[in-house]
Subunit: 199 residues, 2 copies
DNA sequence: CAAAAAACCTACTTATCGGTAAGTAAACCC
DNA sequence: GGGTTTACTTACCGATAAGTAGGTTTTTTG
């Protein structure tokens, strides 16, 4: 069967994403989701197990692209500053492009589950921290960076990245983009870079 | 009438704080709040206007201490590094002591309102950013700090502070406290301090 | 063309929601 | 002692929640 963007299933997912983002899992009702999708309620139960099922489907979609992006920077051997810069740029751009999904994830990370199924976001946080630690250690080993306390520098870098991501989530007076991230982390690296990578 | 911690009103507030923190505004029902408080439902409507009213009362309590703390550091004229260090320590300690309230606020800042009344948390964010900008400019004027782009340095400092606060909110593998904040921001200042304050 | 599958519907279920009406009991005050 | 106020109760309201039974219509397939 030919799946198009007009399909009921796709419209249901879009409506659910909108309403979960606007209102949260508990406050977004099944009735409202199907109304916005333009179908009747049993249709939701035809395509998904239940309310929790459509939510999990959305979460799976939200995390897929992020996993792919992380895999791209898994094994960095040199030009650590440039690679970290590129990775942060890619993360910020993906984040900006998928803001609705990002809002959904933020709500689950920082807020209570409100009856939504559990997803371990800390796993991704730990993966990112470990990747940065590896990259920075490699940079020190390569002589690209001066010897720093890797964990603390990783903390500062992640802090800046997350802060800038946050400014796109909350209605912030100073919204920041990937150029802001590059500029600020560039200044941080300037204090410890010994030799820049080729580029 | 003698108000004690066993009073129905206090027990209702405590139960509401627990349930709003655990489940979120929408998913925490009035029935559950009064059940946990050990009273009947009309009691909640006797002490508060409605569900929204008890929530707003909790928010007011949560923000009061934070406002007092910010006022304490409103007008800093010298020893900028030490003052910022002290302010961050106080914020981290208040945060750690009021984690339940902090969780409630985080859920509202990063998640959808879920029908809860609107509170402008961005105001506090902007106030903190402006305070730090002022302090850092004052430090540069005093010759305590080398000339930096104030906004960027403020961004990095706030990033580290919020990151460490975040690690206490989410179930994080590396929970950070005020000493971590002091150590990391100390390293950041070491790169730009010209003359330390007395003490 | 008929059967099967897919996609959809109406009508309905049970349970719980936020909230209130009307009342009772205890404490207080004149 | 009686009236008032405070603190509390039971019983109930209308509305909406998530979800399903049983059916119809449309599309696909042999």
């Amino acid at each position: 069967m030919n799946i198009t963007s007009d399909d009921a299933r796709v419209r249901l997912l879009e409506a659910a994403l909108d309403l979960f983002t606007e209102k949260g899992y508990a406050a977004a009702s099944v009735s409202e989701i199907v109304r916005r999708a333009g179908v009747t309620k049993p249709m939701l139960y035809y395509y998904f197990k239940n309310k929790e099922g459509i939510y999990s489907e959305l979460m799976a979609q939200a995390l897929t692209d992020f996993k792919i992006l992380l895999k791209k920077y898994e094994n960095v051997e040199k030009d650590v500053y440039i690679q970290i810069n590129n990775m942060f740029r890619d993360i910020m751009n993906l984040h900006a492009a998928r803001l609705k999904y990002a809002r959904l994830i933020y709500a689950m990370v920082y807020g209570p589950p409100q009856g939504a199924p559990f997803i371990d976001f800390e796993e991704y946080h730990a993966i990112m921290a470990e990747m940065l630690n590896k990259m920075i250690r490699k940079g020190v080993e390569n002589g690209e960076l001066e010897d720093v306390v890797t964990e603390d520098f990783t903390t500062v870098l992640l802090s800046v990245l997350f802060f800038c991501m946050d400014t796109q989530i909350i209605k912030c007076s100073c919204m920041m983009d990937s150029e802001d991230v590059s500029r600020i982390t560039g200044k941080l690296f300037d204090k410890i870079i010994i030799k820049r990578g080729e580029g």
